[in-house]
């Protein structure tokens, strides 16, 4: 049968990590990633915050700006297993989750049993390229398992490895043959980032081979899986002051009352935002969240969760609308 690692959400035998230690590890992670990804420090920060908060990341951008590379670097520097799935229109849920296959010993005498062959999602970091090319059926199966952390095939639950992070990419330009992600599916991503084109200087670095994919081979894991779990524990204990929680609620509320937004951000969005803010606090070496953490990540965490009146599901529009909401709210201060 499958030899999946047991759940290690909490392991009493591991020394609790300090915030300082956590931030050191996080900065190591950031340094490694930045060494490969040229000139996208803020995107990398959001990606790492997503990793530390235990969320999943959606990278939406035009081709060739390093979407997949970002996911790969993350996986490589975490030191866990890494799988990549290319989204196509004929990809079935079973291709992703894994399926029951008949197995025997080959002698033909023993009874053939149906065993579970794990799909590509059974890895610590799963990169799902071009998520919007798959059918909605596959999309929802994937996102459900990402949310639950378990794969259920033939009534049997199979736990995904811990930590598990899904990094999906999608191309906003490609219209033909794509299936836009539904609201519910989008809601399961903790954050959406848009790396955008590199600056001229960064592009030069990439073309000269000093940064970019050529550097990927040199990336060694800088953090162990255990440490990731510990980091997540640290993140979950970061203090959020009441005014900040109220601030998040206010932001959610603003997206719900904005005239250009048909459906505002969900409570899950608020939770994701707080989780990201906590992670960002740890990355800055703080044991408490400040207003800046929330403000800096609000757009990434909420842009894909609002449904605009102007349809066509543009996350870009959501981004600007959330930024507008954010600008209208006074952040809590001393």
């Amino acid at each position: 049968m499958d030899t999946l690692p047991p759940p290690i959400q909490t392991r009493p035998d591991i020394e609790p990590m300090s915030v300082t230690g956590a931030s050191t590890i996080a900065s190591r992670l950031a340094a490694t990633t930045n060494a490969v990804i040229a000139g996208k420090a803020d995107v990398v920060d959001t990606a790492i915050a997503t990793l530390l908060s235990g969320g999943h990341l959606l990278i939406e951008d035009i081709p060739g700006v390093g979407k997949t590379l970002l996911a790969q670097v993350l996986a490589a520097s975490v030191g866990g297993s890494f799988r990549r799935v290319q989204g196509t229109s004929d990809l079935l849920p079973g291709d992703v989750t894994g399926s029951m296959v008949p197995t025997g010993d080959g002698s033909g005498t023993a009874a053939i049993t149906m065993t579970f062959r794990p799909g590509p999602v059974f890895a610590n970091v799963v990169v799902f390229d071009e998520l919007n090319r798959t059918t909605p059926r596959t999309q929802s199966a994937l996102l459900e398992l990402a949310e639950e952390g378990t794969v259920t095939v033939d009534g049997t639950g199979h736990r995904l490895p811990v930590p598990f992070m899904l990094v999906a990419t999608q191309n906003p330009i490609d219209i033909a043959g794509t299936h836009a992600l539904g609201e519910g599916s989008l809601d399961r991503f903790a954050a959406v980032v848009t790396p955008g084109r590199a600056t001229t200087a960064s592009e030069l670095e990439v073309l000269a081979g000093r940064q970019g994919r050529t550097m990927l081979d040199g990336v060694a894991p800088v953090v162990s899986l255990d440490e990731i779990v510990q980091l997540r524990n640290v993140v979950s204990q970061v203090h959020v002051a009441d005014p900040l929680a109220a601030y998040v609620v206010e932001i959610l509320d603003a997206t719900r009352t904005h005239p250009a937004i048909r459906l505002g951000a969900s409570t899950r969005g608020g939770l994701a935002l707080l989780g990201l803010a906590r992670a960002r606090a740890v990355m800055a070496g703080r044991s408490y969240v400040v207003a800046d953490d929330v403000a800096a990540l609000a757009v990434s965490a909420l842009a894909h969760r609002v449904i605009t009146v102007d349809a066509n599901h543009s996350i870009d529009l959501g981004r600007s609308l959330v930024a507008e909401c954010l600008a209208g709210i006074t952040a809590p201060t001393a």
Partner: protein, 1008 residues
């Protein structure tokens, strides 16, 4: 939408004067009334007021100009396609618009106003979304934005017309269809290749044989099977249809061009191939046509429209003739005319100051002030109540109307015959003005009435400034100025948060302080070219007398209480009355001088200083001077022509350069019936009768008690030291007179008492250098007296029977003005120079703001008058520094103010230091209290946070974001500390961290 920069920058128009704010005309009216008051009273302080308000007006214009220039249109976008009279969205973005002040943006296409947007409608980014509708079809690629703004002062409106290029807007006429005849052509008549382009246009027309390029979907299978070869549908798609639009070579009218555009767009919309064929020449109906140009995209179609319209664009820049321009920018825009609470109360304060100043000038009475203050306060409250409800109840109108009529009736009934102008100016006029102010206070509901109210207050201030003669005029004016400036500024501000600036407090404070300093300097500059006014104009020579006791004997002397003053009896000590100087009696004992005290006895408004001359003494007996017994003739006022007396040369037909000196005497203490005047009075305006004595002195028939006012116009002979010196030794000329009549006139002025000692005469002979002019001799005597004798009010009384002059010159060598003057007179008489003694007052100290001489009891004085044949009696005094009439420099109001300020600061450094210190303390205490309250409310970290937030402005949301604006580690540290204080659960409020945060904040505030 293209960027504004790509379309070209807006053309900025010239800043023009647009008009006055409603009600601001009353300011001009008030200023003119002030000018009239200045002309009437000749009060320098009114000139100060006028100059300051003039500077204020100029500042209003300059600041309005500056403010307007800093406003610019940063974006203007209109939906690209619209129809006539259809509302279309417009976005206008303005930078630098002060949204908390008055201003109007008018968008027009040059001919018609499209939208009127008050600054009020702009959001904090200066953006406004509005709708406009075009009334004429055509292509609009530029809009006019007319920016009108009244600046921070809000009195004078300036406007500027910017032409802003926009993305072309296609305004189509309403019932527009493809009314242009198009030449349609189908491309498949010759069997063009069938493609899948475009939607199917028509039904299947038929079939034809396959050709290369036909799509497989167009194969008609039944026919193919039947024919044995490939047969395809022969069908027409929209793409196969071509529209050719013929246009003439000459430019089109805008709506014709719009029609062409619309036709092209319609063709494109239907999927046809569209092209334009333009006539090659301007010949109408010419068959030769240039090849059709394909129109591929809607943009091409629009470009065609723009090209076709050519120079037939309407002239949009025709200026409005001047007579059609409105004085007020736009009556419809007066949407924020409701008066604000703050400005209303500030105006009431200014009015109260004006009222207080006026009442103070007219026998201050606390009841009056309380009544005025109460009336103003009630008026303010009621008018604010009305303004808030935007209606005026009928009972208020009735009340105001009734009160006005009643008050006017009561004033009318109390006014009897108007005796003099001053009586009118003091009586009904101020009552009327005050009443007007208080009653008008009930009517102030909008800005127009508010400004009128402020103007009435200004008139009252000018009026009071003209009337007041005390030394607190400057303080009153300063107080009013502060209140009125605050009120005017507040009136121009709406209840809307002003955009906070990133500038630190120090910089923000520097601006108004700089403005005040600049205004003060400008005022002084204006005043430096304004000469000190020549006293009251002839028109308004004021005279006023109270019910004063009449003199016991006609033409005789009367003391302040009406009794004849007792002749000096040689005793010393206080004479008991302020005006009881012994020089104002029929005889003057040279050895007596009372303790006169320091009380102000009169104020004299005159442009230049002079001796205020009262009595003339001719006869001396060695101790007592006595006046001549001739009382002169009684003349009845108010206008009294003073006849020429001895030595009044110009009046006797001798050519001499003279100058008019108008003096108004405001008597402040009970004085005897001696009428003071600068030498050689010509006309006296006096409410009573005056005896014009042959010795040149004037006496009234009543005593001059407190509150009396009279005016004297003197003709001063212009005398300089050179002109005196050139007259040589005058004794020669008087010796030459030998006829008895002449000697009878001259001899009294040469008489030496029998008691005069020989050593006195010897001294006089000795000091007089042979051949020296009389003027030099006088200077020599004065010089000797200055060196050898001493001015001493406590000089010993000479022994009984001793000659007073001898005693002073040789025995005690101490004395006061009477003795000094007597000595000089007798010494000169011994040399054959006619002299006499005059008593009166020295000019006193001139108050530089009100321009009034303050004469105190101790200024009573006696001096020598020497008869110079060519210029008449000339006063000489070794102790008083009164310049010769021809040498008194004509100062300017500004110069006097500067010298007053300098001497004021130099003379009272301690007091000024104390006041500054006290003010600093009060300010400090106020700030401490405000700070304490804020700390109580926000906590000390909260206060720090507020300061940091204020420093950085509203754009940054969080502290780290604010810190990035500085590029300073201190900012980052401060942001961290503040966030810690706000969000860290384990945070402890320590003094060290607070201090380091404060330090960091201060660094940032200083560096800006």
């Amino acid at each position: 939408m293209t960027d504004l920069a790509e379309r070209g920058a807006p053309t900025t128009g010239r800043v023009r004067l647009a008009g006055l704010s409603s009600g601001a005309l009353s300011f001009l009216g008030a200023w003119m009334v002030g000018a009239a008051i200045a002309r009437l009273t000749g009060a320098a302080a009114v000139l100060l007021l006028l100059a300051a308000t003039l500077v204020g007006f100029s500042a209003a214009i300059v600041s309005g100009r500056r403010s307007l220039r800093s406003i610019s249109v940063t974006d203007l976008a209109v939906s690209p396609l619209t129809t006539v009279d259809d509302e279309t969205a417009v976005l206008l973005q303005i930078s630098g618009a002060p949204v908390h002040r008055d201003g109007v943006l008018r968008v027009s296409d040059g001919a018609h106003d499209l939208a009127t947007i008050p600054f009020d409608a702009l959001d904090e980014h200066g953006t406004v979304h509005s709708t406009i509708s075009f009334s004429t079809p055509g292509i609009v690629d530029r809009l006019h934005v007319d920016i009108a703004h009244a600046g921070p002062v809000g009195i004078v409106w300036m406007r500027r017309n910017d032409v802003v290029p926009i993305d072309p807007v296609w305004v189509t006429p309403l019932p527009l269809g493809p009314t242009i005849d198009v030449e349609t052509a189908s491309s498949n008549v010759d069997g063009a290749v069938l493609t899948e382009h475009g939607p199917k246009h028509g039904d299947i027309d038929g079939v034809r044989t396959w050709r290369d390029g036909d799509g497989d979907t167009s194969v008609h299978w039944p026919s193919t099977l039947r024919a044995g070869s490939l047969i395809v549908h022969d069908r027409e798609t929209s793409r196969d249809r071509q529209w050719i639009v013929d246009v003439p070579a000459y430019p089109l009218e805008p709506d014709a061009a719009a029609r062409v555009t619309h036709t092209l767009l319609e063709g494109l919309r239907m999927g046809h191939r569209v092209s334009v064929r333009r006539a090659a020449s301007d010949g109408v109906g010419q068959p030769d046509r240039s090849p059709a140009v394909a129109v591929m995209q809607p943009d091409d179609a629009r470009r065609w429209g723009a090209e076709l319209i050519g120079e037939h664009r309407p002239d949009t820049n025709a200026p409005t003739p001047w007579y059609r321009r409105t004085l007020h920018v736009n009556a419809r825009l007066d949407t924020f005319s409701r008066v604000g609470t703050r400005s209303r109360w500030l105006t009431a304060l200014a009015s109260l100051i004006a009222l207080g100043m006026l009442i103070g000038a007219l026998d201050a009475n606390p009841t009056h002030i309380a009544l005025g203050a109460g009336g103003l306060a009630v008026g303010t409250m009621i008018s604010l109540w009305c303004a808030r409800r935007e209606r005026r109840p009928w009972w208020l109108r009735l009340l105001v109307g009734g009160a006005t009529i009643g008050a006017l009736a009561s004033i009318g009934s109390t006014v009897g015959g108007i005796g003099g102008l001053l009586e009118a100016l003091r009586g009904p006029m101020p009552d009327l003005l005050m009443l007007l102010l208080v009653i008008h206070g009930f009517e102030v509901v909008d800005r127009r009435t508010l400004r009128v109210h402020q103007a009435i207050g200004g008139v009252i201030i000018a009026y009071a400034t003209g009337l007041r003669i005390d030394d607190r005029v400057g303080l009153w004016m300063a107080a009013w100025a502060v209140a009125i400036v605050a009120a005017v500024r507040a009136a121009n501000r709406r209840d809307r948060a002003r955009p906070s600036h990133a500038a630190p407090r120090l910089h923000r404070a520097a601006k108004p302080i700089g403005a005040v300093v600049a205004a003060a300097l400008a005022t002084l500059a204006v005043l430096s070219i304004v000469p000190v006014p020549d006293g009251p104009a002839r028109l308004g020579l004021p005279a006023l007398s109270n019910d004063a006791p009449t003199a016991p004997t006609a033409g005789g002397l009367a003391g302040p209480s009406g009794n004849a003053p007792a002749p000096s009896d040689g005793t010393r000590g206080s004479l008991g009355e302020v005006g009881g100087y012994p020089g104002f009696a029929d005889t003057m004992d040279t050895s007596v001088r009372g303790d006169l005290g320091d009380q102000i006895v009169m104020r004299v408004r005159a442009p230049k200083p002079d001796f205020w001359r009262g009595q003339t003494f001719t006869n001396f007996d060695g101790r007592l001077w006595s006046v001549s017994p001739d009382l002169g003739r009684r003349r009845t006022g108010p206008q009294i022509q003073v006849p020429a007396t001895l030595g009044d040369l110009p009046r006797q037909g001798i050519a001499a350069e003279t100058e008019e000196l108008v003096q108004t005497f405001y008597v402040e203490a009970d004085l005897p019936n001696v009428v003071f005047a600068a030498a050689r009075p010509d006309v006296v305006t006096f409410d009573g009768s005056i005896y014009t004595r042959p010795d040149g002195a004037l006496r009234s028939d009543v005593t001059l008690n407190e509150g009396s006012v009279y005016t004297v116009v003197s003709k001063r002979v212009q005398v300089t030291s050179a002109s005196l010196r050139s007259q040589g030794d005058v004794s020669d000329m008087f010796e030459a007179i030998t006829d008895p009549a002449g000697r009878a006139v001259i001899d009294p002025y040469l008489a030496i008492p029998a008691s005069t000692t020989q050593r006195t005469i010897d001294l006089a002979d000795e000091l007089r250098r042979p051949g020296a002019s009389t003027y030099d001799t006088i200077l020599a005597y004065q010089n000797w007296l200055a060196i050898n004798t001493e001015y001493d009010l406590d000089a010993p009384v000479p022994a009984e029977g001793a000659d007073a002059v001898d005693d002073y010159l040789f025995v005690s060598q101490r004395g006061f003005c009477e003795q000094i003057a007597s000595s000089l007179a007798i010494m000169l008489r011994s040399q054959g120079v006619p002299t006499r003694i005059a008593t009166g007052y020295v000019p006193g100290v001139r108050d530089k703001v009100s321009g009034v001489f303050e004469v105190r009891a101790s200024d009573a004085h006696a001096w020598v008058e020497v008869w110079f044949p060519d210029s008449g009696w000339q006063a000489f005094d070794p102790t008083a520094s009164v310049p010769l009439s021809g040498e008194a420099a004509q100062g300017s109001v500004g110069g006097e103010l500067v010298s007053a300020a300098i001497s004021g600061i130099a003379s009272r450094p301690v007091e000024i230091g104390l006041i500054v210190g006290f003010a600093t303390m009060v300010l400090g205490a106020f700030r401490a209290i405000v700070g304490f309250v804020r700390r109580r409310r926000r906590g000390r970290w909260g206060v720090l946070q507020d300061r940091f937030t204020e420093l950085t402005g509203p754009n940054a949301i969080t502290n780290p974001e604010r810190a990035t604006a500085f590029d300073d580690l201190a900012a980052t540290e401060l942001a961290e500390l503040l966030d810690q204080a706000a969000f860290d659960p384990s945070w402890q409020d320590t003094n060290e961290s607070y201090q380091s945060a404060t330090r960091a904040l201060k660094t940032l505030e200083v560096s800006g």
